[in-house]
Amino acid sequence: MSFDTALIVESLPKMLMGIGLTFQLLVLSAVFGLILATLLMLMRISGKWWLSWPAQVYIYVFRGTPILVQIFIVYYGFPQLEVIRESVLWPVFREPFGCAVFALSLNAGAYVSEILRGGVLGVDRGMLEAGEALGLSKTQRFVYLTTPIATRLALPAYGNDIISLLKSTALASTITLMEMTGIARTIVAQTYAPYEIFISLAIVYMVLTFLIQKLVARIERHLGRYTLKEG
């Protein structure tokens, strides 16, 4: 048994062909997930049981089940339902890409909403009271005071969640999508060289993880410049 470097040199560009698809899955799911998460978080902190209760159930269900099962329900399960086949969204669910983005977004929404809620709850009550005493309306306080501070507080955890999402995009390979992991699995099936292929791909993912961490850290420094004693 030996480590075939030539095979890596040959396979790496092939796998990197899938990076575009990996990115599309990541960015689209992150954006839709964030929108959904914001909605869920607002429902949870609304103080109205008929809004917060459904949000809580949603979060509980999506955090309590494996993402792979969620992907399979959407990709394999939805076509069984007539409601879905006849809906306007059918073109989305007919394609594995649409299914993957849909499932990943729903999943990310559940996790991120809890992160956002943590941020909002971390905002100092006294500071909000000062806004209230100055005559700022509830909406103005939320937009100008709560949002910027909660964003900074939630950012580190949000960065970790984006990394989780990146790793979850690899599961799209289980529903025939040829993103990086999908390509790697095909190559391994042909060459039967799991070490060379999977390890070099793992390094690619680690580099991406590292880059995301660096980016988040930079945004964090920018948003948190007011927390430094030295101006």
Binding site: L134, G135, Y144, Y226, T227
Partner: protein, 248 residues
């Protein structure tokens, strides 16, 4: 608001937190230009009293009027009333993510809806009055506690309030900074600002207040001009409190 009518009127005001009676049967009238110091042991209802005046707490008995407007749930524009009532907190409560200047401009822009330039001019004017115009571009965390509290006072003044409420403004400060904040408050008093101050700074009460109010267990036990108050307290509870607070 006309100047001869009372600025604030509280009639038989009560407030409960669960089983705890925070305020009971409070009657208080404040006229324009009056300077009132409220003192009393912790838990006596001093903070709740002034928090009810700008409705950070809702009273659940009696009536409160600011000028001609009564504070009720049915009020159309609570924020219009809040604009008339400035508030300074024990823990400063500056907006940490905004520079000093932005702290002063935000509510002016959003509530008084004036132009950026106008808001900035007003902000700089009041920063000069609290003697820290050079800190305008800094973030709150870069200032000392005393400076932060002065910014908080300037922020409230920018709204051109009719009355200023102070909730233990010097209690969170290191001793050497108490003075700079009190000096600013004395200046304000000299300019004729109507003020209600919850504080244990009895020197300030002596030199500035028109009336000192002593509270205990949610009630106003005694009120008198400072000279009377300090020299002939009538209630045993007041004497006890004063001896505790003045012994050092």
């Amino acid at each position: 608001m006309t100047s001869d009518a009372p600025l604030i009127r509280m009639q038989a005001v009560g407030k409960r937190f669960g089983n705890f009676q925070a305020l009971a049967n409070i009657d208080l009238t404040v006229t324009s230009g009056e300077r009132i110091v409220v003192c009393g042991p912790s838990g006596s209802g001093k903070s709740t009293l002034i928090r009810c005046i700008n409705r950070l707490e809702k009273h659940d008995a009696g009536r409160i009027f600011i000028g001609q407007t009564e504070l009720t749930d049915a009020m159309e524009d609570l924020n219009a009333v809040r604009r008339e009532v400035g508030m300074v907190f024990q823990s400063f409560n500056l907006f940490p993510h905004m520079t000093v200047l932005k702290n002063l401009m935000l509510a002016q822009r959003l509530v008084r809806k004036i132009t950026r330039q106008e808001a900035q001019d007003i902000a700089m004017h009041y920063l000069e009055r609290v003697r820290i115009p050079e800190q305008a571009k800094k973030y709150p965390i870069q200032l000392s506690g005393g400076q932060q509290q002065r910014v908080a006072i300037a922020r409230a003044l920018c709204m051109k309030p009719q009355v200023m409420l102070f909730d233990e403004p010097t209690s969170a400060l290191d001793p050497e900074m108490i003075h700079e904040v009190l000096d600013v408050m004395v200046d304000l008093a000299k300019d004729g600002m109507t003020m209600i101050c919850v504080t244990h700074e009895m020197g300030f009460a002596r030199s500035v207040a028109d009336r000192v109010i002593f509270m205990d267990e949610g009630r106003i036990l005694e009120q008198a001009p400072p000279l009377d108050f300090f020299q002939n307290p009538r209630r045993g509870r007041t004497k006890q409190f004063l001896s505790q607070i003045l012994q050092h």
